[in-house]
């Protein structure tokens, strides 16, 4: 689904990620781990086309990122649900409008959208918060709104950048459970986290592949977690 071919990336000067070659297989559950500042967010941004590699190539859905126009990338995003590290919303719209935004942006609002939204709100457990505005939400609620927004387009890939960073253990488990459910529905999941206990918990439920970033490289971690 996503292929890296000797891709490297540097913001300014020195390389942050170097010579990455890997293949994100369809339907698999991937953890991306590594110390803070190692480049997890940068790697994920390349996975959804926000950043282009400085050298090498990245292919998303068999399309070369280097050949894609801005609008091509925008269209591709509709098939990738992204939960940003500091999940951003339109603060002047209530959470339902925020969740529905991907539909409206791609002009796919239809009579079924209403039911779809209701089901999604129930799934993330926010039915009683429909009229809330984003600034009023707690950390866990923000993550769940972001998750609902990420899946409303029924994307093939879900990318979540440290969704459990600002929430307690109970909420972390709950979010992980939702992501595992999505994976069992056949979605490819990419989840960045430096929380090893979360990874261990996930491994007891799904076959998860762990990509560890260290020294500018990404390695598939063994059983030594």
């Amino acid at each position: 689904m996503i292929k890296f071919d000797s891709a490297s990336y540097s913001y300014t000067g020195s390389e942050l990620l170097s010579d990455i070659t890997l293949d994100i297989a369809s339907g698999a559950f991937h953890f991306v781990t590594g110390p803070s500042g190692s480049g997890k967010t940068t790697f994920l941004k390349m996975c959804y086309g926000e950043l282009r590699p400085n050298t090498g190539a990245v292919q998303i859905f068999d399309q070369d990122l280097g050949q894609m126009t801005r609008d091509d990338i925008a269209s591709m995003r509709r098939k990738i649900g992204v939960i940003h590290q500091d999940c951003q919303f339109l603060d002047h719209l209530n959470i339902v409008d925020n969740i529905a935004l991907p539909l409206s942006v791609s002009q796919q609002i239809n009579p079924n959208s209403e039911t779809q939204l209701k089901e999604l709100l129930a799934w993330v457990g926010l039915t009683n918060r429909v009229n809330a505005m984003p600034p009023e939400l707690s950390g866990g609620e923000r993550q769940r709104v972001a998750l609902a927004r990420a899946v409303i387009m029924s994307p093939d890939i879900i990318i979540a950048d440290e969704p459990t960073g600002n929430v307690d253990w109970e909420m972390s488990q709950r979010l992980l459970k939702l992501l595992i459910e999505l994976n069992k529905m056949g979605k490819t999941v990419l989840l960045a986290s430096h929380d090893l206990s979360l990874i261990r918990l996930a491994k007891s439920h799904v076959q998860a592949r762990v990509l560890r970033i260290s020294d500018k490289r990404i390695r598939i971690a063994g059983a030594d977690l």
């Binding site: 925008a74 995003r77 951003q88 719209l93 991907p102 409206s104 791609s106 002009q107 927004r149």
Partner: protein
């Protein structure tokens, strides 16, 4: 540039810019500050351009008035004793016929003269007893004729002839009116381009103030045209309302301070009459089209710079 034109065309054709998408209307947060500023400045600019346009229209009217009234015509007036009159007139006509630059010369008949003088003397005036001069109406060719030359030739052969070339002393007035017309239009154009610059600045300011909104929209798969249209709609609408208000205020002021019942006002005063008022509609229309183009260009430039 071509890309930009095609993009705009595409956006118009796919009705992205005009479709009433309630959600898109709301993706840009309603910021009171830039909204009020855009509204205010487009109102002021429209107000000013009404006056520039009024000046221009008034000047054009003066120019037409002075120019039309006696375009390319002069009059030769011949005074002579009654028994000499016929030969003098014949001589004068002969001279006129051989002057290059004169298309036609025609003696104004007694009946015509009577009609011309009726307002002053009444219908029953015994004009014959006044021994009026004979008038010859001269029509110039487009090239005009040499006035001094004609004067000299007339002076030699027809001593009682007076050449009155009214077109000539009116020409500077027509020229002045034309200059005024051009200045008025030029000012209107300047105001319009300043408005374009202002709308561009406002749109760019609004886009940088809303960079997070743009980032979110992009993250969830919005095409550039969607994001651009959201801003274009906002600013075009604001500019339209602002220029409408400015136009209305200026029109109100014009109505209050120009008195259409005053005869002289038509010739000398700054003012609009009849169909001229309809021409004012051009101003909000121009402002709206301008806002559309300026915001579209600004939005696309900003978005292109993001990748």
């Amino acid at each position: 540039m071509m890309n930009y034109i095609f993009g705009l065309f595409d956006a118009l054709m796919t009705t992205r810019l005009w479709s009433r998408d309630a959600q898109r209307d709301r993706v840009v947060p309603p910021t009171g500050y830039t909204a009020t500023l855009t509204l205010f400045s487009s109102a002021v600019m429209a107000f000013l351009s009404v006056f520039a346009l009024t000046l221009s229209i008034s000047a054009a009217r003066l120019s037409v008035y002075w120019g039309d009234a006696l375009a390319n015509s002069s009059t030769l007036q011949i005074s002579a004793r009654a028994d000499q009159m016929e030969t003098q007139v014949a001589l004068a006509l002969q001279i006129l016929k051989t002057t290059s630059g004169i298309e036609a010369a025609r003696v104004i008949s007694y009946e015509e003269q009577q009609k011309l003088l009726e307002p002053w003397f009444g219908p029953a005036a015994p004009l014959q007893r006044l021994s009026l001069p004979t008038l010859i109406d001269i029509t110039e060719a487009a090239s005009g004729y040499n006035v001094e030359n004609l004067r000299l030739r007339l002076a030699a052969d027809v001593p009682g002839a007076i050449l009155d070339d009214h077109a000539r002393w009116r020409r500077p007035l027509v020229q002045a009116a034309n200059t005024l017309w051009a200045i008025g239009l030029f000012c209107a154009l300047l105001i319009l381009s300043a408005s374009g610059a202002m709308i561009t600045l406002a749109a760019r300011a609004s886009m940088s103030a809303n960079s997070q909104v743009i980032a979110v929209l992009r993250m969830i798969g919005a095409h550039d045209s969607y994001v651009a249209a959201a801003f274009v709609q906002r600013f075009t609408f604001r500019t339209f309302i602002g220029s409408l208000i400015g136009c209305a205020l200026a029109a109100l002021l014009l109505i209050t301070f120009t008195d259409p019942t005053q005869q002289a006002a038509i010739l000398t005063g700054l003012g609009l009459e009849g169909r001229d008022w309809l021409r004012l509609i051009v101003i909000p229309v121009l402002f709206t089209v301008l806002a559309l183009l300026a915001t579209y260009a600004a939005a696309h430039r900003v978005l292109k710079g993001l990748s």
